[in-house]
Amino acid sequence: MLTSSAFTGLSWSPVTDVRTLFTFPFMQHALAAGTIVAVMAGVIGWFMVLRRQTFAGHTLSVTAFTGASAASLAGVPVAVGYFGICGLGALALAAVAGPRRSLGAESAATGSVGALALALGFLFVSLYHGILTGLDSLLFGTFLGITSSQVLVLLVVAALTLVVVALAARPLLFASVDPDVARAGGVPVRLLGLGFLLVLGLAVAETSQITGALLVFALLVTPAAAAHRITARPFAGVVLSVALALAVTWLGLALAYFSVYPVGFYITSLSFAVYVLARVLT
């Protein structure tokens, strides 16, 4: 994967190795972007696991692929496609997941939205006369070639989303844990649900730019699920989830830098190992 002539490989001296990591601008950008994404995914993911909306999150991650391929076809910046289509996907999910449906009907609806999004994404890629490596990196992510303006966009969106979540955290927690009591207590449960799906869409759009549309789950679900197993306290859980996501991202990027295998493989495997550890230990 890496062909730079300045690339030296592992030197068996941790200080030198860490310094090597920060030598190249592309790696600095990748680490900055990875950090932003991990913090955001850790927070939003914790709420998503709490609300049992894993399938919805997965479906949104699939729409991220559609967004990116549509943007490539239309010739607009990929980030526009990610954020636009994920927002639309969140609205579509909120619309199909009515409050009175059975579990089976709701999952069929979510699955149909996801399959349609993927089918459209594939159509756009075919119409684009897709460069196939481009398709792979849309689906499975790449940490090469992230520009500083992309990092800035990631930072702004993440900051906005986290502020919104922080402001709504208490009612959102209440509505997630016990929707009926929350509704009786005057909390706008439906509105919060819609708002959370939109925030989730944004988070997914951010994450897929690093991990690719298919591997979003590794940062969004797995660290959060491990945190939920370790502690039930909300604040500690969110902090732990962020810490795990950060650790996995940094280690994954570093490993990918020093080896030939893709970053998505390292990030998913590391976070899965963390989850298994959490399950075994608790």
Binding site: A115, F217, A225, G264, T268, S269, Y275
Partner: protein
């Protein structure tokens, strides 16, 4: 259209895959296991690419992985219904492994092309050989026969697990066997519409059928019919407009049927 051999192969394979998906999908939606089906489709991707990386027959890896995945998922679930967080965590890792195999395959593959990943993800129904079609037909028949054999206890266990268990129905074993069967069908459908899109064939026709009727036999029939219709219409559209990929058109038709069914009232009220 029927004069072309590739088109005949695609229609035959697509039809059996559609019927199998429609029938199994009806139970998947009834048991609210669409997410498990989705996870199995990702397992299919990893299995096929692992086989490609190892240089053995793609389909061996595909079916081995999906059936194993189904059984593992059934075994991991504490109760009859598997935990969606467990599923999500497992399949994130499975996909990560798939990416590893993809990169091994594309860097080491001797004389192989770099499109294997795309083919597995999005299917290649127009590229099926007559031998492929024969295998699909045999496997689909096996899947449908197994489903028919376990249909009554499965229905009972899905609708009311506690009562069924009290009556001596082996609820857990049936749940396991069913996920294994979903794995088999997922492997089948991967060849036709690809690992990423088979969810559309499992969920959309069945979702539409559940919306229109609650009667089991009518629902199963409708679901199979919708899936079959989606495959035929999708293939024809793709034949007429060659720029549109067949898997996209099949899924788009299936989702179109689903949306139409959602906007109709249940059949019972239509008929009277």
């Amino acid at each position: 259209m029927l004069a072309q051999e590739f088109m005949r192969n695609a229609l035959v394979a697509g039809s059996v895959v559609g019927i199998a998906c429609g029938l199994v999908g009806w139970f998947v939606v009834l048991r609210a296991q669409v997410f498990a089906g989705d996870a199995l489709s990702h397992v299919a991707f990893t299995g096929a690419l692992a086989a490609a990386a190892l240089g053995i027959d793609l389909r061996a890896g595909l079916f081995f992985a999906t059936i194993l995945g189904g059984v593992v998922m059934g075994a991991l679930g504490d109760r009859a219904r598997t935990d969606d967080v467990v599923i999500g965590t497992l399949f994130a890792w499975t996909l990560g492994l798939g990416v590893l195999f993809l990169s091994i395959f594309t860097t080491n593959g001797s004389g192989a092309n770099g499109t294997a990943g795309v083919r597995v993800l999005f299917g290649s129904i127009f590229g099926l050989s007559t031998a492929d079609v024969r295998t699909s037909v045999v496997l689909a028949v096996v899947a449908v026969v197994v489903l028919a054999a376990m249909a009554r206890p499965l229905l009972f266990a899905s609708l009311d697990g506690a009562v069924a268990a009290a009556q001596g129905v082996p609820v857990r074993a049936i749940g396991l066997a069913f996920l294994g069967l979903v794995g088999l069908v997922a492997g089948e459908a991967t060849q036709a519409v690809g690992a990423l899109l088979l969810l559309g064939l499992l969920a959309a026709p069945a979702g539409a059928a559940h919306r229109l009727t609650t009667r089991p036999y009518a629902g199963l029939g409708l679901s199979a019919l919708f899936a079959l219709g989606s495959v035929w219409l999708g293939l024809s559209l793709s034949y007429v407009f060659p720029t549109l990929p067949p898997s996209t058109m099949i899924i788009a038709t299936a989702v179109g049927i689903y949306v139409a069914a959602m906007s109709l009232p249940p059949l019972r009220r239509l008929v009277g």
